[in-house]
């Protein structure tokens, strides 16, 4: 799967791995990075690789909740309301530049992300299974953006930070694509494969000392800290375990090792911590705070 995605996306191995692990873990993903780093393309490639339906919504300040979930339309001929389902009814929904829409619209995703269903008027509609929200954010251009509600951020399993490619990778991008639109991978896996992977991932064994390690990692974020106002929720504990299981499965193991937990912690924790003003005044990177926190917890 990773090899197939790498045909479309040059480099970005860590991003693709985290995206695949989150997909197998059954969680939603935020990709943060400057424009032009193939964030959107990575989401499209993932949807194509697993043979799922794909919908993209460009988030803008004038977007309405009904533009995402759907709406009820009055039919004059029949005199009844009919329901037009929105783009959320897809296996992979790409919420492009999610922070450009106001909180009201972002919250429209909440029920779908957590409950895997959408309520339109008096009716509740189940979403397709599997259902995955991939959102993108640009950290550089913050004018006209709205911070995501913490409740919604918490519902994203991981936040993946996408970095610039190396010079060699950029050479390959030029040689491979030139000005053409990159071809998407096809027939790599099916929806049934994805459901089976998810089932196998849930069965991956976590030894009790690793469970303690996960709890200690999340607990460390709640201890008094000079740069943190608030730590991560128990949902983060579940998320680290799910990501560690997916990573172990992708590595061909039926059990989790400390490396799986440690590697899963940064993408799970980085968007769940509330950093205080000192990170700004002292120019401390949030990423460094997360790294130091993780390093402060002894590995079993």
């Amino acid at each position: 799967m990773l090899d197939a995605l790498s045909v479309t996306i040059v480099g970005q191995r860590a991003t693709l791995e985290a995206l695949l692990h989150a997909t197998i873990a059954g969680g939603h993903v935020v990709l943060e990075g400057p424009p032009g780093l193939a964030k959107t393309l990575a989401c499209r490639a993932l949807a194509a690789a697993v043979g799922g339906s794909f919908k993209r919504v460009q988030f803008t300040p004038d977007l309405l909740p009904s533009d995402i979930v759907g709406t009820r339309i009055f039919d004059q001929h029949s005199g009844e309301f009919t329901t037009a389902l929105g783009p959320i009814f897809a296996n992979v929904l790409l919420a492009d530049e999610i922070n450009r829409a106001p909180a009201k619209v972002q919250s429209a995703l909440l029920e779908g992300m957590q409950e895997r269903q959408v309520t339109i008027g008096p009716q509740t509609f189940p979403l397709p299974d599997p259902f995955l929200v991939t959102a993108t954010m640009n950290p550089l251009d913050s004018d006209g953006t709205y911070a995501l509600p913490l409740a919604q951020m918490d519902r994203f399993l991981v936040k993946i930070v996408v970095g610039y490619p190396t010079a060699a990778e950029e050479h390959t991008i030029l040689e491979r694509f030139g000005g053409d639109v990159p071809a998407l991978p096809a027939d790599v896996a099916s929806m049934d494969d994805l459901r089976r992977w998810r089932s196998e991932a849930r069965a991956v064994f976590i030894e009790s000392r690793l469970v303690d390690y996960i709890v200690n990692l999340v607990g460390a974020t709640r201890a008094p800290h000079p740069y943190l106002d608030r730590g991560a929720s128990p949902r983060a504990t579940l998320a680290i375990a799910a990501m560690a299981r997916a990573r172990a499965l992708c590595d061909g193991r039926t059990f989790v090792v400390p490396d799986d937990v440690r590697a899963s912690a940064p993408p799970v924790l980085r968007h769940r911590l509330a950093f205080n003003y000192r990170t700004l005044t002292e120019n401390v990177s949030a990423e460094q705070v997360v790294t130091d926190l993780i390093a402060s917890v002894p590995v079993p």
Binding site: F205, E207, R209, L210, T254, F255, V256, V257, P258, D259, R262, A263, N283, S285, E287, Q288, T291, D292, A295, S296, V297, P298, V299
Partner: protein, 292 residues
């Protein structure tokens, strides 16, 4: 000859001085996030090797950490030194591992190590100081090693030879005269002396004893608890810090290229964390690496 040596010494001194001045003018601008000393063991016996680890993290991508002054290691013997800088996600991690042993019992406080650099946050030159670490040394004092003894004796002999050479010649002449005057028949030779006893074997380091005991226990009782004990002993052997995972040890080549140690670490990692039902099988797979 003496004049030649003096000239060479003067030239070397000027080169060293100019190099140090040049070094002082080219301090690197760094965001130093971490600069600390740690020990892999808190208590050792005299002669048992242990690791003093200097860990630094800077935000910049650098190939090596220059202008580091190691702490005074009085009372300790430096058995080896390994430096490594690896690119981390947010800069560079540099680790210097010194293998030391103590020559006398007691508490030794080591540090601080210093790093001279331009603090990138203020733009001013600064000397970053590490923390201090203390190690407790038990056992009997160690006799100075052969190299030190040889060096000291050689110096003393040369000095004595220059000043007392004539006295030796005179003494020899006097002894010759006296021997000729009072010569007596040969006394029977004393029986040959027994050969000197073999020196005692070097003490077994703590980690080795701990590892042997743990492996023995694992052979007797192949349980997860014993596999965990072996894993901890192996990690102590390679100087693993408590926040380091197996991937970290591989990344910094903690086993110094010893593939059998790496294989043993990987095998006990499996035995320590696999499913309960697969523990015996994992231990069976690990034992050949451990007994080897």
């Amino acid at each position: 000859m003496d004049r030649f040596v003096n000239r060479v010494a003067a030239v070397l001194a000027s080169v060293v001085f100019s190099a140090s001045v040049a070094g002082a003018q080219t301090l690197t601008s760094l965001h130093v996030r971490k600069f600390e000393l740690s020990l892999d063991q808190q208590s050792v016996s005299v002669g048992a090797p242990f690791h003093l680890i200097l860990t630094a993290h800077v935000d910049e991508a650098i190939a090596a950490l220059d202008n580091v002054s190691l702490p005074n290691l009085a009372g300790l013997e430096d058995l080896g030194d390994e430096r490594r800088c690896t690119r981390a996600k947010n800069g560079t991690d540099c680790v210097e591992t010194l293998t030391l042993d103590a020559t006398a019992p007691g508490d030794r406080t080591i540090g601080p190590a210093t790093l001279a650099a331009v603090d990138a946050q203020t733009g001013r030159p600064r000397t970053f100081e590490s923390n201090l670490v203390t190690i407790h040394v038990t056992g009997q004092p160690k006799i100075a090693n052969d190299t030190e003894v040889t060096s000291a004796v050689t110096d003393m002999l040369w000095a004595a030879a220059r000043t007392a050479g004539t006295f030796v010649l005179v003494a020899l002449a006097l002894w010759g005269l006296l021997w000729a005057a009072f010569r007596r028949p040969h006394a029977p030779l004393p029986p040959p002396r027994a050969p000197a006893p073999e020196p005692p074997p070097p003490p077994i380091p703590d980690w080795e004893r701990r590892l042997r005991d743990a492996v023995d226990a694992l052979v007797r009782e192949p349980t997860r608890a014993n596999a965990i004990a072996v894993r901890e002993a192996l990690r102590a052997h390679v100087g693993a810090r408590e926040e380091e995972t197996f991937a970290d040890l591989v990344a910094r080549n903690a086993t110094n290229g010893r593939s059998e140690t790496l294989a043993a670490l990987a095998a006990v990692e499996r035995a320590a964390f696999c499913e309960d039902a697969r523990v015996p099988e994992a231990i069976r797979e690990a034992l050949p690496f451990l007994t080897h």
